[in-house]
């Protein structure tokens, strides 16, 4: 995989531990999660009700949508409970020089 596939998304210290932030990366609305120091990335808009997951509730590896409390596993985007039935897209992450890089490939 060439370096050109990785896109700089945010400074690592901009993603507080056990929290979620929303960032715009090349026009995409992305949620970045920090679970005990590990960074994960998914699309930010819930597949159910069009709410922003970055305003939701992160508990362990699960992000809960603030609108209807559907849950996704932030590691792979899998839907975890009703009302969400459709996975949310997740993205590979790498950390380099204190920055979070995502691959949209």
């Amino acid at each position: 995989m060439s370096d050109s596939q990785w896109t700089d998304a945010a400074p690592l210290d901009g993603v507080p531990t056990d929290d979620v932030i929303g960032v715009n990366v090349e026009g995409r609305d992305i949620a970045l999660y920090n679970v005990e120091g590990e960074i994960y990335a998914t699309d930010n808009i819930c597949t159910h009700g069009h709410a922003r997951l970055c305003e939701g509730f992160l508990e362990g590896h699960e992000i809960e949508c603030p609108l209807h409390q559907g849950r996704f596993d932030v590691r792979n985007g899998a839907p975890m409970c009703a009302p969400v039935t459709e996975a949310i897209r997740s993205y590979p992450v790498k950390i380099e020089a204190g920055r979070v890089f995502l691959s949209f490939a």
Binding site: E55, F57, E64, P66, H68, Q69, A82, P83, T85, E86
Partner: protein, 404 residues
Amino acid sequence: MSTETIVIVGGGQAGGWAAQTLRAEGFKGRVVLIGDEAHRPYERPPLSKAILSGDAHADTAYLQKPEAFDALAVEWRPNATATAIDATAKQLRLADGESLGYDKLILCTGGRARRLTIPGADLPGVHTLRNLQDAASLGAALIAGKRLLVIGGGWIGLEVAATARKKGMEVTVVEAMSRLCERTVPAGISTYLQRLHRSHGVRIELGASVERLAEAANGLSATLSDGREIGCDTVLVGVGLIANDELARAAGLACDGGVCVDAQCRSSNADILAAGDVAVWHSEWAGRRMRLESWQNAQEQGIAAARSALGTDVNHQPLPWFWSDQFDVNLQIYGMPAPQHEVVVRGDPDSNAFVMFFLDGDHVVAALGPNSARDLRFARRLIERRTSVDPAQLADVQVALAKL
């Protein structure tokens, strides 16, 4: 026991989730879903808001995308009506004469909008709101500059009032009780809602009832109990729901304003379950037997009934959660606030964002407030965990609820 055929009566949110759950739990048998509408299962909250205003298409309300619904391999019978249950023979009869044998039957027949019995209640221009067809019909009548009369200051009435006002209608709400949403919120929130609507130019008449509706030279005319007349072009009647429990009652099932079920969603007949708006059960959070007419309960009880039908032990006791969107306000309620609870307010109750906590001794049993979804989500955790709290800390906006 082998369960081969499960029939679900009612193709709304509870029925849709029951069908989805049967497959998610690995049930390979026959699933028949009987709906009396042309639509596959959908969520009703947008009917008084984005779908009513025309801002969202009906497609956005469906529980499943078409391909996901097809993948459930459910025998879906739209526009179909169940007419009788033979509980002994375990047969369900449909209006078209067909008889369906079942091993388990799940009743998700919901409810219908209560209608008025006053003179003029059936005039053209008088609407109720329960399904997509109602929303299309009422939505077409929401026209800027025209006058809407809302009878009933409950959730449906207030949400429609807000949608109509945003469309530029002149709106009057008439409520028979002395305050708005009296059945579901404490007085402070009724006052808040009244202030919200009045600030947006909605006229509110409390302690007033409509005695008759009549055609007038220019639209319709409503006569109030005190003799006053209110002119309007369109009327929305939002005076509650009647549970569709006739099928169950005729079959001899225990009913009390709905089908009585236990926390396993089982009716008085072990092979017949019920879920959603039609079900009456003892809510431990409320401390009483009730129907819980909400989005959350339709979903969660539909799921629970399906799992129970498959023989899984379930205990349907969700912390009641309710929300309403009106103008720029999202109001949420967790639990069942009651007059005997101690009230602690966090934030300024005269502002558009604050939380009211309801305490029983040293723990929170209910919480509500406008535009405070995040705080309320933490409140939910306090309630569910029965965390011992210090009222002074709850009230202090400098103390993060996440830390309590």
